[in-house]
Amino acid sequence: MKPNVTPGGTPHVALMPKEETYGRMVWRRFRRHKLAVVSLFVLLLLYGMAIFAPIVAPYHYDHMDFTKSLHPPSFTSWFGTDRIGGDIFSRVVWGSRISLAVGLVAAGIALVIGTIIGALAGYFGGIIDDILMRFTEVVASFPTMFLLLTVIAVLPRSTMNIMIVIGATAWPGLARMVRGQFLSLREMDYVEAARAVGATDTSIVFTHILLNTMAPIIVNASLRIGGAILVESGLSFLGLGVISPPSWGTILNGGRPLLRSAPWISTIPGLFIFVTVLAFNYVGDGLRDALDPRATR
């Protein structure tokens, strides 16, 4: 048994089994989605690579050697070298730190803002809902690139600022979803009951509603991580990405003029972005199935 998140269902928060058993059940369901498990493994590998970058990478990301300009992949440099003789393998390993961090942090920021705004709007409704939702629309309606550019122009171009900007523009969808969940959940019997016995707004939001909204939020967040990595690579295309240390997007874009004469420079980071985002999508998919009580497999 687990809390039911569908409207019309009958949640039994009081009867919710211990956390451990619930977690075990989710894991059991998740394991059935083989591709999601493979993806999770791939992601763990990538994050391991990012954490141990200084050990994994034979060279520093700034290393260059004039005399080894544009060497194709070989046993000495697995992924080849770029124009100034930098080792692509090392750069990709170091780049995983930036790209994966951008994904996590930006998605985290979007998650926090989106959940808070969606929850407040959905729970209180009325004028608060109106104000917050119009605000959400303003952010959503702003051309993302305009916002990105302006902020990047005003603030120094740092990895942190780029993460913040991506996160700060990615939350409106999440806020809408959380609001929708709250709108339907707050009318549920068990919430009314809690309210009747004098529970405070805070405790209702946290112990009753938010817990029941967790599943879609987690799924949404896991998809946002991949999305943020893609947005960063798009920024690199426009020359606004993270430069040093390089992100995958930066390496990919740096190889753009050489896509035909030295295709390895951009193909390899491109594949890394692709595999990572794909893995996040599959993990999100697996989580959706695992957390969805109606999944019958």
Partner: protein
């Protein structure tokens, strides 16, 4: 199920990585291709190589070259005639006859696969064609001389919409390319970049060099049929000098005191000070007074005719579809006698991405690309040699690193010299531009007549750099490998530049690396370009990297004269943002400006170059060359070493 998905993944991975194999293939096909003016010569029997000579079916080659050809069965003789030239070739004989005169040939005409084959090069050259053997593609490329004739169309690739088609408001290269086809200036340059009359037929300079009198060409018409007069010229220059003018040419006319029009065909310009560079400013396109005179100067940019211009040039403006095309059409009433424009229509196709433009060129969607991306030059040159012609153009300018002259680190000339010695600039040109560039050592580039070839070239010398740094007091090396002086200060600074250019990022990475090797620590900060300009104008930098494209006159007042720096209120008066101040250079610049004799000026600029080369207000880096490509059928193109000229002389060959 999972296995299936994995198989699919593997297939996709294979497909993606499979692209590795698709690069330019080096395997030469044994087939010989023959092209005539870029068009492949279609023959039923393939051309063949015999004793190192290419033999081709006689009828195909003669006809493709525009010759009449007949075959005499009795004597086994081919006779081709074009214009005044007759060629006679006999089967099996190594002697040919051109207009009756015997000419030996290496390989005799012979029958191969049932066709009579003749030596291609001999035939083409006899009929005044130019023959080129392209090894990479096994192609014989024949270009025939053609009489210019009216007709045809060329399609240029243009990297973006022009911002305006008003010559006095345009600042970008894209706009100028189009404007130059539509407008004329008072003067223009020839292939050697010497000045000659354009709308002015001739001019005289008063003995004190302060009064210039221009005599207008007669019978020139605007594209709308109205006559052109000296009043149009005065109107154009007056507009530029107007306080409400929003363009950037005002500075060029600073020396002008007065412009008068004694009669419709004469223009008199009086200067308040002698300025030898002034004549070079008069290439700016003239705009029609009868169109713009009713418009407030501040609103010139908004005028519809700034986007659908009326000019006097060889091409009419026809249409501009934003983001897609600019279309021009031939002006049959063009005034230059004997130089009528030949090409019926010029079409600019707007293609924003450089790689996409190259694809369009390779696919034959455009006929002309101004600059092939450096990494693709060799490949395109070999694979498309039969269809395209290439031209290397030098940059009339240079890239440099500018250092604040009163900065605690850079004010010591030994440090500046050490920084220059530690850079392997030839290596940079080779790595970054595959050799399409030149190392620069002073401010006048090799394309300028004022270029001084004798200045010191600062060869890459790490030891020399270290010695100079030690002499300058940076004699201790810290644990981080960075030098320190007696006060323990680190030899570290922050360089600023503009973002958005991959080559610049790579170049700066190399520079940082090479400076680090001698114990200099450079941090790089990149800003969006308008933010960056703001910082330069406000003097908010230690050291920066940028480049100049120069005007036709070597006058360098604006860069190195002390009054072009920051004034008392902190406003940058010219572009001397590094604050270079050398009274001797100031004097030389002023003298060179006030002299009209080119030889005297050359001597003065050589002296300036020597001083700049020694004192290094800038670390001069290099300039880069562009390789332009165009379809071989476009002929009669006139090139200077920095670009094309006289579009009215170009024509479409066969």
């Amino acid at each position: 199920m999972v296995r299936k998905a994995l198989v699919v993944l593997a297939v996709v991975a294979l497909l993606v990585t499979g692209f590795y194999g698709i690069g330019p293939s080096a395997t030469a096909s044994p087939r010989i291709a023959v092209t005539i003016n870029g068009h492949p010569l279609v023959t039923d029997v393939a051309p063949a190589i015999v004793n190192g000579r290419t033999l081709v079916p006689f009828r195909a080659i003669f006809e493709a070259l525009g010759a009449r050809v007949d075959w005499d069965e009795a004597t086994h003789t081919v006779r081709g005639t074009r214009g005044q030239t007759t060629v006679r070739l006999t089967l099996g004989q190594r002697m040919a006859f051109v207009n009756g005169a015997p000419m030996p040939i290496d390989v005799a005409p012979q029958i191969l696969n049932g066709r009579t084959m003749v030596p291609g090069r001999f035939v083409a050259e006899t009929l005044e064609g130019k023959v080129e053997w392209i090894q990479a593609t096994n192609t014989v490329a024949i270009t025939t001389p053609t009489e210019p004739a009216v007709g045809g169309e060329i399609v240029f690739g243009l990297g973006g919409d022009p911002t305006t088609l008003n010559p006095i408001l345009s600042t970008d290269a894209g706009s100028s390319t189009v404007i130059d086809m539509i407008h004329n200036g008072l003067v223009r340059t020839n292939e050697r970049l010497e000045f000659m009359g354009d709308l002015a037929e001739d001019w005289i300079v008063s003995p004190d060099n302060l009064t210039l009198t221009f005599f207008m060409r007669r019978g020139v018409q605007w594209h709308d049929g109205r006559p052109f007069t000296a009043h149009d010229v005065k109107f154009t220059y007056d507009t530029i000098m107007h306080p409400d003018y929003t363009g950037v040419l005002r500075r060029d006319f600073r020396a002008v005191r007065e412009i008068t029009v004694p009669n419709a065909h004469t223009l008199v310009i009086r200067l308040s000070q002698v300025d030898a560079s002034f004549i070079t400013k008069l290439t700016v396109g003239i705009i029609p007074r009868h169109i713009f005179s009713g418009t407030p100067v501040a609103q010139l940019r908004e005028h519809a005719r700034s986007r659908s211009p009326i000019g006097t040039g060889p091409y009419f403006f026809r249409q501009w579809i934003p983001g897609q095309f600019v279309v021009l059409e031939r002006n049959p009433n063009y005034f230059w006698a004997g130089n009528e424009p030949y090409i019926e229509r010029i079409r600019y196709r707007i293609i924003h991405d450089t790689q996409a433009m190259l694809v369009a060129l390779e696919a034959g969607q455009i006929d002309w690309m101004g600059s092939i991306p450096v990494d693709d030059i060799e490949r395109v040159r070999t694979t498309h040699a039969a269809r395209l012609q290439f031209r290397e153009l030098r940059q009339h300018g240079y890239w440099y690193i500018g250092m604040k002259q009163d900065h605690p680190i850079f004010r010591d000339v030994r440090v500046r010299q050490a920084m220059k010695y530690s850079l392997d600039r030839p290596g940079m040109v080779q790595t970054l531009f595959r050799g399409y560039g030149t190392v620069i050592n002073a401010d006048q580039p090799p394309t300028s007549w004022a270029h001084n070839p004798n200045v010191y070239n600062y060869p890459h010398n790490r030891q020399k750099a270290i010695d100079l740094l030690v002499q300058a007091g940076w004699n201790r090396v810290g644990a981080d490998g960075i030098r320190r002086n007696a006060q323990g200060q680190r030899l570290a600074f922050t360089l600023i530049s503009a973002s958005g250019d991959q080559t610049r990022v790579e170049m700066l990475a190399i520079i940082r690396n090479q400076w680090r090797a001698v114990g200099i620590d450079m941090t790089i900060e990149l800003f969006e370009v308008s933010v960056y300009f703001g910082k330069l104008d406000a003097g908010e930098f230690e050291i920066y990297q940028w480049g100049w494209n120069l005007g036709l006159d070597p006058d360098n007042f604006i860069f190195f004269h002390s009054t072009s720096g920051f004034n008392a209120e902190g406003i940058l008066m010219g572009f001397n943002d590094v604050g270079y101040n050398n009274p001797q250079v100031d004097r030389l610049i002023e003298q060179a400006r006030a002299t009209f004799d080119q030889e005297t000026r050359r001597q003065l600029y050589w002296q300036i170059s020597e001083i700049l080369n020694r004192e290094l207000p800038y670390i001069f880096l290099y300039n880069r060359n562009a390789v332009a490509a165009h379809h071989r059928r476009i002929q009669g193109i006139v090139w200077s070493h920095i670009g094309t000229l006289f579009p009215e002389k170009w024509f479409i060959g066969r």
